[in-house]
């Protein structure tokens, strides 16, 4: 009988790279020179990892050949450098499950159910996946998913609710303005009257506050009240003491933090949330799964972008051998090899 259960679309690639930070991006280059096509998956909505999310405007001084380059600048140059290899990207996704198949290839599933099949896997996940910061309000876990949300997937879910939005950045301000017409009431709590958000949004927010269409309260949320995950009110400690703000939904926007996440469940040996590798192949305890960059550990490891680049080059040789054990790899230089230059689109 034919199988009538719907199978999800499967994306096939040579190498699946988990994490699109600088080291994951450079791995595309090294693997590309060996004719391996790559697909990168990242939880963020753009390439660059920590460089893009934590410190895009900060200068980096230890990239060989660049006396000074900003983190975002480096990401831009890497994207340019790997362009000839046409890497594929899937953003806003986390690889939640990874299994090895009998033929030595891999099947990976994202948190949204997309499936990838790859001949080798490279974990270049840095400090893990970026996840929203949970404010340390006692008992907040009990409300998560019912009354407390760290992202807005559908605005309709908030129609007619009494919202309490916390934070002072663009996410907090944008959602305050976007949800204000939909919600029954909106209160914005921030610890001071200055914001990190665009001045236009801030002005709009203060305008609505003046018109009493929303409430802006200076302070920090210290306690929640409600039953069985259903929120009733939040206590806000401000400069003039505590106030209770009635609310049915709480949306904290405190930025992102890094968590190892599902990698811990892939059956790999871990050491203090890092993946031990050898320094010849940068392979994990599972043949065919490699780990490069900040996520790996070995004697003498330095968490430097330049070390990750070196690891990517050696890993690529090992990954090629894992995928095509019979093929002899001829070592070549990009300066002189016509075949490499053809791959780079310059010959």
């Amino acid at each position: 009988m034919p199988d009538v259960t719907k199978t999800p679309d499967v994306t096939k690639t040579d190498v699946l790279i988990v994490g699109a930070g600088p080291v994951g991006l450079f791995a595309v280059f090294e693997l590309g020179l060996l004719d391996l096509k790559c697909h990168l998956v990242d939880i963020l909505d753009r390439p660059g990892g920590q460089c893009a999310e934590l410190y895009p405007e900060k200068p980096i001084y230890d990239i060989p050949g660049w006396p000074l380059i900003t983190a975002q600048g480096l990401v831009g140059r890497l994207m340019e450098q790997i362009e000839p290899f046409q890497p594929q990207f899937t953003f806003n996704r986390m690889i939640s499950a990874l299994e090895k198949r009998e033929d030595g290839s891999f099947r990976a599933t994202t948190d949204e159910g997309e499936v990838f099949e790859a001949k080798a896997v490279v974990i270049a996940a840095g400090g893990g996946s970026f996840q929203p910061k949970r404010p340390p309000i006692p008992g907040i876990e009990a409300y998560e998913g019912k009354s407390v949300f760290y992202a807005v997937r559908r605005m309709e879910d908030f129609r007619g609710e009494d919202l309490l939005i916390v934070g002072g950045g663009d996410s907090a301000l944008d959602w305050t303005l976007n949800l204000q017409p939909v919600a029954r009431s909106v209160a914005l709590v921030h610890r001071r009257a200055e914001f990190r958000a665009s001045p236009d949004s801030v002005n709009k927010m203060f305008g609505l506050h003046e018109e009493e269409k929303l409430r802006f309260q200076i302070g920090q949320v210290t306690a929640l009240a409600g039953e069985s995950g259903v929120l009733r009110s939040a206590t806000v400690k401000g400069p003039h003491g505590e106030v209770d703000i009635p609310c049915t939904r709480l949306l904290p926007f405190f930025g992102l933090t890094m968590k190892l996440g599902p990698i811990a469940q892939w059956g790999l040996n871990l050491h203090e949330n890092l993946i031990p590798v050898d320094t010849e192949k940068f392979q994990s305890s599972e043949p065919g799964i490699f780990a490069i960059g900040d996520i790996n550990t070995y004697p003498g490891k330095l968490k430097l972008i330049l070390s990750g680049f070196h690891e990517a080059a050696l890993m690529a040789q090992a990954a090629k051998h894992y995928i095509s054990p019979a093929e002899r790899i001829v070592f070549q230089y990009t300066t002189s090899s016509t075949s490499l230059q053809k791959k780079l689109g310059v010959a």
């Binding site: 934590l54 610890r191 933090t257």
Partner: protein
């Protein structure tokens, strides 16, 4: 050398000889003070090296600059004496400085 006293949340005091020009965060990390995470490595790009400056020292240490204030928005239980320890540079006047590590870095 300048003496720093970094007090962990459990009350353990770390008495550290710090070099002038280094940051309080670097000294905390070097001496494995629990509760100082410094996720971004000192770029003033996260808020995981948050400390409370002892009241007697707030005047000498000074106020955060605007970029640090912005980052403190991501910290928790921020108080008037809150600072990011990566933005406090050790200097002679800070000899004997006392800072306390909060319960969480978020």
């Amino acid at each position: 050398m300048t003496k720093l006293h970094i007090i962990a949340f459990d009350g353990t005091a770390y008495d550290i000889d710090a070099e002038n020009g280094s940051t309080v965060m670097e000294n905390a990390i070097r001496n494995s003070v629990p509760g100082i995470e410094a996720e971004c490595g000192g770029a003033c790009a996260c808020a995981t090296c948050h400390v409370y400056v002892d009241d007697a020292w707030t005047g000498v240490v000074g106020e955060p600059e605007s970029m640090e204030e912005d980052m403190l928005d991501f910290a928790f239980d921020v108080r008037p004496n809150s600072r990011l320890s990566c933005q406090i540079k050790v200097r002679d006047e800070l000899d004997g400085l006392i800072v306390r590590v909060p319960e969480h870095q978020g």
